[in-house]
Symmetry: C2
Subunit: 215 residues, 2 copies
DNA sequence: GTCTATAGCAGGATAGAC
DNA sequence: GTCTATCCTGCTATAGAC
């Protein structure tokens, strides 16, 4: 299903560099001049391809951030396709996806910095993120988790549980400078595995058990 | 111990408005003109009182953010002064402090937005925050928690536990737009109490118990 | 200490040649 | 589609009158 017509390479490079710079410095902290220079394009290229700086920002979310986030979502669907997962596999899958479901370390940083910034100052991108990614993740998570919970737990309680799991995943990714400052650890492969284990175990102990018992 | 010489009211208003605007829009997103206009001062007042926009930003952290954070820290010290607290009281105290240890809702938002932004793009302020606030909180938390943990738990594991507790507190404060979008709840008094209860219970179940058992 | 005036530069956006 | 040239606004910072 490959496209025969190649997408405009200048446009693609603009999106790449814009994502990197927006993630690093935020929307207001980056100038169009900086983006076009980094992309080896001319100043007017942004206005030609996207109409405005703001539209370029939204395009980064629509064409870069969202597709990547959807790939993470697919991991949950693949897990669910194999039958009802144990809570442990559920939590571990989602955690690992956020830690390893990226091409490389730089991509993971960009991805989390962007969502982090958008949570900081909610704009049009946040509603896009919530409806297209966050809510689907929560819905799937809730559906797969609820069979394991005792009957008394209401939906809002489950939502808060999921928030407590997800917020750890997010924090250990975008709070990296603070985590490094306090632990002295760099985010190498070993430390990432340790964090995934920690978040999984912490969250599993915290989730009230009921229904079927596993292993 | 009241100061006889009143602090310069223009300077104070500049700090107030700068904090509000920096928290809302970030350093690059605010202009000196906007700050001075909001403070009813003249454009050159920032340079007169602080030398530069950047110094004003640092002054906001030193003279507004840090003193407030230290007041939260004092709550831990007052708790510890009454003897070794149960883990439940420890977690509840720190959680409640972050949710209610502020003059009003606006002040709490500003406080969390500022730290959130600084975690987003670490600058000089972050090292100040880590050394003056985060590390002391972690040290006290660890010292008060360790007696309750089983002997096998090493220091790094405890540090990760504390991160998982603190990150929930932070997230439910600065991730407010997302939490509201997914729960439909506004942050009124009732919901805040619910969140404090949720974080406390979630974290307590997750902490491995050992040593003395309470109640 | 406060205000005016302005330097000096960087910002986003656009029109029009090629 | 790309590049040049340019508009005009807004920015931080400073010098100097009062």
């Amino acid at each position: 299903m490959r496209q025969t017509t190649q997408p405009d390479p200048t446009r693609e490079r603009l999106l790449d560099e814009a994502e990197r710079l927006f993630a690093d410095k935020g929307f207001a902290g980056v100038s169009v001049r900086e983006i076009t220079a980094a992309a080896g394009a001319h100043l007017s290229a942004v206005n030609y391809h996207f109409g405005s700086k703001h539209n370029l920002y939204l395009a980064v979310f629509r064409e870069r951030w969202l597709p990547r986030a959807r790939r993470i979502l697919e991991r949950l669907d693949r897990l669910a396709a194999r039958g009802l997962p144990r809570p442990e596999d559920l939590v571990r899958t989602i955690t690992e996806a956020f830690f390893s479901g990226f091409a490389d370390d730089a991509e993971r940083r960009r991805h989390h910095q962007l969502i982090h910034r958008e949570m900081c100052r909610p704009g049009e991108a946040l509603s896009l993120i919530v409806e297209e990614v966050t809510r689907p993740i929560f819905d799937r998570f809730r559906r797969l988790l609820e069979p394991h919970l005792p009957p008394g737990v209401d939906e809002e309680e489950v939502t808060l549980y999921i928030f407590s799991v997800i917020c750890q995943v997010l924090f250990f990714n975008f709070g990296r400078p603070m985590v490094t400052a306090l632990t002295g650890r760099t985010y190498d492969e070993q430390f990432r595995r340790l964090l995934v284990e920690h978040i999984t175990r912490f969250s599993l102990r915290a989730l009230p058990r009921g229904g079927e018992e596993d292993s």
